[in-house]
């Protein structure tokens, strides 16, 4: 699960892909873990087990996974409200994540953050964020710190198509260019800002044009294609590490669930969700490609599926069994005198 830097090319191996079999299996495991995590939350939320707001990443797994495979713990990501997939791909413990979502002391933030604020700086995860676009300046800060402290770390800022209209995000594109920061802005364009269509809410037709307007290179990829994301992100991250500065990656993706759990999604076209689930499932497409190429067998992916199901079972069980925070925890971790 841990995001390890991977070989760019697997030349000389039996794999027709630019990744070794182990890395492909690892990518599959990460994507499947995200899907299982989110699907379980979908069911448990509907049953009333989970307090608060939950925004699910299911359907978008290829983007987080394809990008994060290039990163180490030294690299920092600033995530969004839809951050579970980013956390898992960045190596945050699913047990700590589940504990956090259940509001337990076993959580990544000891129950004080919740789904929208999961963070683990030891893994380079600077936090999911309930304020859309606010992570972009933070990622610039991470990139600035890497530059000033003289290490090769990069900052990755995730925004959705909605938050791509925020001033904080647009200002960050400019600042990153001016300061030549090793930062990559990833626009996860799933077509909807909550319920509002990207076609209506983003005046420009092209995120590449928008990036170019700020003097940054930009690339658009099919975010449901793990290999396309992996290749484009790898190039941008290498460029940033080598002092080539910031860039923007638009991943066109799809959202299996609503904006939040409980969203009836009446704004979507009839049959839209069924269609994308049946025909554009990034995990199915990945599994088909690697199995058709004879690199990973169905038996092997089935084994990962079983392993992941067990992992999520145990995360849910532990989260349910974990103690709630103490009364005293209300007043810790902040200056309080009044």
């Amino acid at each position: 699960m841990s995001a390890t830097a991977t070989a760019v090319s697997a030349q000389g191996s039996d794999s027709p892909f630019p990744l070794e079999k182990d890395d492909l299996l690892s990518a599959y495991r990460t994507m499947k873990t995200i899907r299982e995590f989110e699907d379980r939350l979908h069911v448990d939320f509907a049953r009333g087990d989970i307090p608060g707001f939950v925004h699910l990443y299911a359907g978008e797994e290829a983007a987080a996974t394809g990008i994060m495979m290039h990163l180490t713990d030294e690299d920092r990501i600033a995530s969004t409200h839809r951050g579970h997939g980013h956390c898992i791909a960045k190596g945050v413990s699913v047990h700590e994540m589940m504990g956090e979502i259940y509001g337990k002391v076993s959580g990544a933030c000891r129950g004080k953050g919740g789904s929208m604020h999961i963070a683990d700086l030891s893994k380079g995860m600077m936090g999911a964020n309930g304020i859309l676009g606010a992570g972009a300046p933070l990622a610039c800060g991470a990139a600035l710190a890497a530059k000033k402290l003289g290490h090769k770390g990069v900052g990755i800022s995730f925004v959705g198509d909605g938050a791509s209209n925020q001033g904080m995000f647009l200002e960050s594109l400019n600042l990153a260019g001016v300061w030549e920061l090793p930062v990559i802005f990833v626009v996860e364009n799933n077509g909807y800002a909550e319920s509002t269509s990207v076609d209506w809410a983003v005046a420009s037709d092209s995120y590449v044009d928008r990036a170019n307007g700020f003097g940054l290179p930009g690339v658009t990829v099919d975010g449901t294609d793990f290999f396309a994301v992996h290749e484009a992100a790898g190039e941008m991250i290498r460029r940033a590490r080598d002092g080539g500065g910031p860039s923007l990656l638009e991943c066109k993706m799809i959202r299996f669930h609503g904006h939040f759990e409980g969203d009836a999604q009446t704004y979507r076209a009839e049959g839209e969700v069924e269609d994308i689930r049946n025909n554009r499932d990034c995990i199915k497409m990945f599994a088909d490609r690697v199995s058709e190429a004879g690199v990973i067998s169905r038996v092997e992916t089935d084994a990962v599926d079983a392993e992941v199901a067990t992992l999520i079972d145990s995360a849910v069980e532990q989260a349910k069994a974990a103690p709630l925070p103490d009364t005293a925890d209300l007043l810790t971790d902040v200056y309080v005198k009044y």
Partner: protein, 335 residues
Amino acid sequence: MTRKISMKEAVNEALDQEMQRDPTVVVMGEDIVGGTGSPGEDDAWGGVLGVTKGLYAKHGDRLMDTPLSESAYIGAAIGAATCGLRPVAELMFVDFMGVCLDEIFNQGAKFRYMFGGKVETPVVIRAMCGAGFRAAAQHSQMLTPVFTHIPGLKVVCPSNAYDTKGLLAQSIRDNDPVIFLEHKNLYAHESDVPEESYTIPFGEAAVLREGKSATVATYGQTVHRSVEAAETLAKDGVDVEVIDLRTLSPIDNDTVIESVEKTGRLVCVDEANPRCSIASDVSATVAQEAFGALKAPIQMVTAPHTPVPFSPALEDLYIPTADGIADAVRKTMAA
């Protein structure tokens, strides 16, 4: 060795000494170097009022001019603070806080608590505050209560050069976000300041003048007006204790309460607008904690509940005056 320097020089000296002491300290803001990328001098300004002048020559690119983009660079300072740097970001005028407030109050202020105590955010946001500069409604506010309302922020507003140097060094070494407000009308004010580096702990008010008749609690520019009022009243035999709160979060209520237990009378003076102000906060705390000690109703002397006016004739009426403070003390004495 101690010598007289201005509050402006005290800011510069604290930044200089902290940058020498700790290589992770970086300073950023609009025009804090001045002239970056322009055809003339490289180090032209040192901030709009020259506060950071000379630091670029000593510390090079650890001082960074920024685009006019407060959300981006204040947010970057906060992000960098979670990644091993100790940034000091200058916002020029506190009035500009509105354009980047999310990064301060929803991000930096909340990280330590929201992330379960696992993240520290050692960032200082410096800004000029206060009226009296004929700078009008959008360059003259205090806004101190906006920040004291927010858990996770520490808020400092010194009244003299000595406190400025020690409190700024403390702010830079602190592991929480600190809003450090410098009253622009006090930049030229001089006091005795040691050359060597020192810190002043947060949450310790200074009793500037001891007295038995009444207590005046205040901070910033109105400290000096309160001392002036106390000197006037002393001629009439009214012995006023003047407390400079110095830091507003944490705030040293204990020193105020102890003083009121001695004097029985309290005047809270605040250049901020009156509703939910530092003055009303201190008044409420004293009423709750030391009601029995009060011999008269608490008085508040604040700015009116208006924007800061431009015309000097009106601005002079806006800021609490020594006469107004003296009148409020007399009112408590008459009760």
